[in-house]
């Protein structure tokens, strides 16, 4: 019960064919898709298929629409069901409009709970995505929105109690310690909430009017509130869920920024009194109520919806929620900043909130701040200190917030010319904030497809890619996914915030520290422990895909331990490697990292090295002219809805970054800065390829890049790879960086050369680094540093080659 990566890629292809006016091809692909899909997949993909059908012209649109409908009807009557899933009873379809939406949702959630528990992606994701799109289509015209919303909230609440309680009991009964089970449980609720938020954010740009906005916001709030209420009501070994929530506020606070005031009040009503140590109910409740009331004054094509919710964990803790208010041509951001814990003393904290351009700051102010705000008549700071956390008082406080919001909103209209760009929207993308970044996750079908391609494979695979390619995120998203296999991911990097990602690394370190003979089933035991902790599943007979992220550190650790202790080599290192080899005869082991040669240690004594097969890891996928691809989704998250762009623009950016997410953000920050410098006017036209070309001339030349501050991470990495120390210690990275630099210097316009001129250019580099030239090309291509296509070699990520050519020299 999920949309397969193949279906996603077919849909992308259809959309590209339509953009290229290849109607006949698009038509036949669509027909083929409709007849191929199973009932549940067809249902889940229906809104996406419909969206493509709507782009055809009259005749074809009608025909394809009818085809889709008749296929639905036929499958529903069970005539030609190709359903292969084991289902006790087919759940009521979300498309079955004869029944209330809340009832259909109940059936779907029930089905998920029993067949796909905790499989947030793709199963939960696909079902919930369709749920949201049904909500905005069905609920507004019925007039029964609020009743349905309340029911839907309760469905989510009972679902949440059910799955989290069951998961906890299952795990502890399998021997998982209570601490780990608790962490697992709270991170489960976080994943569920994040999923809801990311689906909301994906749907928001499609909202066209106030009624749809109301439905989307209402159902999202109900779902988020419901999941939390359910979790709170659940018991985890005599500990109520409420206490766990209280202990880990960071995992659920940002999502509640997307809730309407009404749902928040209902949630806080149930929250036990102990939480009143915080001002959540008062401060956040009042702010959310004010916004909800303000939204009531948006009609017709006007919309007011939450856009971002960000928590600052530096004390004093603050939640910043940004709302996007659209009225005609005016597209205004309203930021509401809530200090939700303690009394705020000293103006520094308030100034920080002002620094993020908050329209309203709500806080309990200390006497010093009260005096300061009063004497200097600081606008936009609402003092909550005279209020108590009870219905009436919260409403009074919300009045104050509302009047301030209205004042700001009005002044925004009269203020300055809203069309002149003055803000760097790309720099809002939280590159350095992993918590906030969860709201910006793009589903990576390409990575899932890669995994699916190896369904049933055993052995050792190596996935390498440039740093910050999204490998770690992808690995963590993959966990649990997969048809017949269980995907378990672990990292060798220390993750004190996610201890269950470090179980493997801790056991390995312990093994070297104790230095005793490794037991025969050490590796498989550790894998079992990780499986239980990360996937909540029993690993006894399933095929396991075990992913080790930052694998270079694993081999670095082995190497440094055996270098000066021969005993450890025979007691720990070699047995470990041979157990890994043995594991790989029945399962799939995946090493993930940047450099493809780190496993080449103890080569003379171990069977491991010859078994390792490198596979190429996909960056964000893009197909020319397709309006919606992984890459365009990323790009629109980065540029926000303030800066729409056309397909040629996306293509041009893709040529530069190859779909590398981090560098795409860096590049767009630079681009946005350039737009500001050139007084670009927003809201007139979409960004075009011409804009990008002009930017490229001004900002991406070697001289300009040398001075640029937008690429500091990769520019620094390149400097390190190009240094003398790297030549000796990291020969592969050094050779690759020198290669990129050589191509950029030799072909500064096209960044492309024929295989033969590549060989001439790079032969001295390869021989200096003792890397066979052919192997260097293959491994670097698979790791996205180079691209080898149609006899032409170019950098996999052009901007990285530019950075290699302009990196400052490090002398070490």
């Amino acid at each position: 019960m999920a949309v397969s990566p193949q279906t996603r890629s077919t849909l992308t292809e259809i959309s590209a064919l339509l953009s290229e006016n290849r109607i006949q091809d698009a038509d036949s692909k669509t027909r083929e898709l409709i007849s191929r899909l199973s009932s549940s997949e067809l249902t889940l993909a229906s809104s996406d298929i419909e969206a493509q059908i709507a782009r055809f012209m009259n005749q074809r649109r009608r025909e394809l629409g009818l085809l889709l409908k008749s296929r639905h009807d036929r499958l529903a009557s069970g005539a030609t069901s190709s359903e292969s899933e084991v289902v006790v009873r087919r759940p009521l379809s979300l498309l079955d409009t004869g029944e209330p939406l809340s009832l259909r949702i109940r059936h779907q959630l029930h089905h998920l709970a029993f067949n796909f528990i905790f499989k947030w992606a793709p199963n939960y994701r696909d079902v919930l995505k369709l749920t949201l799109s049904r909500s905005i289509e069905e609920l507004p015209p019925t007039g029964a929105l609020e009743i349905q919303v309340a029911d839907i909230g309760e469905e989510f609440a009972s679902h949440s109690i059910d799955i989290f309680q069951r998961g906890y009991i299952y795990q502890t009964s399998r021997g998982l310690s209570r601490d780990v089970a608790e962490i697992k449980s709270i991170s489960g609720v976080q994943s569920f909430l994040d999923l809801l938020v990311s689906l909301y954010l994906e749907t928001r740009p499609k909202i066209e009017n106030a009624a749809q906005a109301n439905a989307l916001w209402g159902v999202t709030s109900a779902a988020i509130g419901g999941v939390l209420r359910g979790y709170g009501r659940a018991e985890f070994g005599e500990v109520p869920g409420w206490s766990l929530l209280q202990k880990h506020p960071a995992s659920w606070l940002p999502p509640i920024g997307f809730c309407r005031g009404t749902e928040l009040m209902a949630l806080f009503e149930e929250f036990p009194d102990t939480l009143s140590e915080t001002n959540l109910q008062l401060v956040l409740g009042a702010a959310a109520l004010a916004i909800e009331r303000m939204a009531h004054s948006f009609h017709g094509r006007e919309t007011l919806l939450p856009r971002l919710s960000r928590m600052s964990i530096n004390r004093p803790e603050r939640l910043d929620v940004t709302y996007s208010a659209k009225r005609g041509a005016l597209n205004q951001d309203l930021l509401v900043s809530c200090f939700w814990r303690g009394v705020i003393e000293g103006p520094a904290a308030i100034r920080t909130a002002q620094g993020v351009r908050a329209a309203v700051i709500v806080a309990r102010l200390g006497p010093e701040n009260q005096a300061w705000v009063e004497s200097e008549s600081i606008a936009g700071v609402i003092d909550a200190s005279g209020f108590r956390a009870e219905q009436q008082q919260i409403h009074h406080l919300s009045e104050l917030v509302l009047s301030r919001l209205e004042a700001v909103s009005l002044s925004g209209e009269a203020d300055h010319d809203p069309a002149a760009i003055s803000h760097n929207f790309a720099s809002d993308f939280p590159l350095d904030d992993p918590d906030f970044r969860r709201q910006f996750l793009i589903e990576r079908h390409s990575v899932k497809k890669l995994l699916q391609d190896f369904e049933g494979n055993t052995g050792i695979h190596l996935w390498c890619s440039v740093r910050r390619s999204g490998k770690t995120t992808a690995a963590q998203e993959l966990a649990g996914v997969g048809g017949a296999s269980l995907v378990v991911s672990q990292t060798m990097d220390r993750q004190p915030r996610q201890p269950i990602q470090n179980i493997f690394s801790r056991r390995i370190r312990d093994a070297f520290e104790t230095g005793r003979d490794l037991s025969d089933d050490f590796f498989i035991d550790v894998v079992r422990e990780c499986t239980l902790a990360t996937t909540a599943s029993d690993a006894s007979d399933a095929r396991i895909v075990f992913i080790i992220d930052e694998y270079e550190s694993l081999f670095g650790l082995i190497d440094s331990n055996v270098r000066d202790d021969k005993g450890l080599k025979y007691k720990v290192a070699l047995p470990l490697l041979s157990q890994m080899v043995d594991f790989a005869t029945r399962h799939l082991l995946i090493f993930m990292g940047q450099r493809p040669d780190a496993f080449l240690i103890l080569a003379a004594d171990s069977q491991l090295a010859p078994l390792v097969k490198q596979k190429s890891f996909p960056l964000f996928e893009h197909r020319q002219n397709a309006p919606s691809t992984e890459f365009t989704q990323l790009l629109s998250r980065v540029l926000s809805d303030k800066l729409p762009f056309d397909s040629p623009f996306a293509n041009a950016v893709f040529i530069e970054t190859g779909g590398h997410p981090y560098l795409t953000v860096n590049l767009m920050e630079d681009f946005n800065d350039w737009l500001i410098e050139n007084k670009y006017r927003m809201g007139v036209l979409s960004l075009s390829a011409e804009n990008f070309t002009n930017f490229e001339k001004d900002r991406l030349g070697q001289a300009a890049l040398k001075r640029s501050s937008f690429y500091s991470f990769f520019s620094g990495q390149m400097s390190q790879y190009l240094s003398e120390a790297a030549r000796a210690d990291e020969p592969w990275l050094s050779a690759v960086a020198l290669t990129l630099k050589a191509i950029a210097n030799k072909h500064p316009k096209t960044f492309t050369c024929s295989i033969s001129s590549f060989e001439t250019l790079v032969a001295p580099i390869a021989s200096d680094a003792r890397q066979p030239l052919g192997r260097l090309l293959t491994t670097a291509t698979q790791a996205n540093f180079l691209k080898d296509k149609d006899g032409q070699v170019s950098p996999g990520i052009r901007i990285l080659a530019r950075l290699a050519a302009s990196a400052a020299m490090v002398i070490n």
């Binding site: 964990i313 004390r315 350095d432 670095g556 210690d729």
Partner: protein
């Protein structure tokens, strides 16, 4: 090099922050002594500044891919000290890692996510470079006590004193040879025995005048100065490398250096080498001229606030070590020439006669 706590603080302040950086980490190598004591002393001298010393105990930092990950473990192990800073909400934080060994890794690891309790950028992905404090902190020679200037002065004085003593020996044993040596030192004058002896008396008078305060000795090259060091400096200042080698050859003969003991050159000396190869005994005297000149320039640089650029402390210290090593060895060498005078002198005479 052992730093005092206050010196470490000075050096940290001497390194400018990179733009936009909020966290940085310096590697401070402490090969000897108690690092705990140093850390404690540092805490006291830093006071409320946001600089935190951490003693590195685990066998971390052996793996380029895990550099920042190892940093994270170090932070966890020193949580109490770091967390205590949160109160003061610092804008920028400098962490000092007190380590036994040098740091030498390519820094190519993934960024790390700082823990939620961290006083700066909590919960944020961060990437930064670890730099060796001694290599990074640059100071002008005048502000670099690590050059141990007084010791340089003393050693350069001892070398000059040894040379003058050697000339005294020559005067007593072979006044004609003294004429030769003084002629080399005063190329523009026409020297006879009386002139050579008069010059030597001036050399001796200068040594006698400075002997009470050798650690404050400051050679100069002023035109009117008539002491031995000034004459050597003027020779060096006015010579090409080739001319300097010729002068060295003449001095080697004049001092009867037969090259049985070979002095290791000062590092600076190798940059003065002429194109043609030099005999070992010539290298000895070439080194003495270059080393004396090197000490003179260093004393100049370290005594003037202006005119001189800032250099890494480690470089200045290493330079001073090498120079002092040489000055000491050169002094021993010159003393050796006349301590074994009788035996070697006879050999030398025979050698000359043949």
């Amino acid at each position: 090099m052992d730093y005092s706590p206050s010196r470490i603080v000075e050096l940290v302040r001497a390194v400018p922050w990179r733009p936009d950086a909020r966290l940085r980490l310096f590697w401070v190598r402490c090969p000897q002594g108690s690092r705990d004591d140093l850390a404690t002393a540092l805490k006291i001298s830093i006071g409320s500044e946001s600089v935190v010393p951490i003693v590195l105990r685990s066998a971390a930092f052996g793996n380029a891919n895990a550099v920042l990950s190892d940093v994270l473990e170090l932070f966890e192990a020193n949580r109490a000290a770091l967390e205590a800073l949160a109160e003061s909400a610092p804008d920028q934080l400098t962490v000092l890692v007190l380590a036994r060994d040098e740091f030498r890794l390519v820094q190519a690891s993934s960024p790390i996510t700082l823990p939620a309790w961290f006083p700066i950028c909590a919960g944020k992905d961060t990437s930064f470079l670890i730099s060796d404090l001694a290599h990074t902190a640059e100071v002008k020679p005048v502000n670099c006590p690590e050059t141990r200037l007084a010791h340089v002065a003393e050693l350069v004085f001892r070398l000059e004193e040894a040379l003058v003593d050697a000339l005294g020996q020559i005067e007593r044993s072979d006044p004609i040879r003294l004429v030769g040596v003084v002629q080399v030192l005063m190329p523009s004058a026409d020297i006879d025995v009386a002139g050579a002896v008069a010059a030597l008396r001036q050399f001796e008078a200068h040594i006698a005048a400075s002997t009470s305060e050798p650690r404050a000795y400051r050679p100069n090259a002023a035109d009117g100065s008539k002491f031995l060091g000034a004459r050597m400096l003027r020779l060096t200042l006015n010579s090409s490398p080739k001319q300097l080698a010729n002068t060295a050859a003449n001095l080697a003969s004049g001092f009867n250096d037969n090259g049985t003991r070979v002095l290791k050159q000062p590092f600076f000396g190798i940059f003065w080498r002429p194109a043609a190869p030099m005999a070992e005994r010539v290298v000895n005297w070439h080194s003495i001229l270059a080393g004396y000149f090197e000490a003179y320039q260093l004393i100049n640089a370290a005594s003037h606030a202006g005119d001189f650029p800032a250099f890494p402390v480690a470089l200045q210290y290493a330079h001073s070590l090498d120079l002092r090593r040489f000055l000491h060895e050169a002094t021993e060498h010159v003393r050796g020439l006349h301590d074994h005078h009788s035996a070697e002198f006879c050999t030398a005479v025979r050698y000359d006669e043949s």
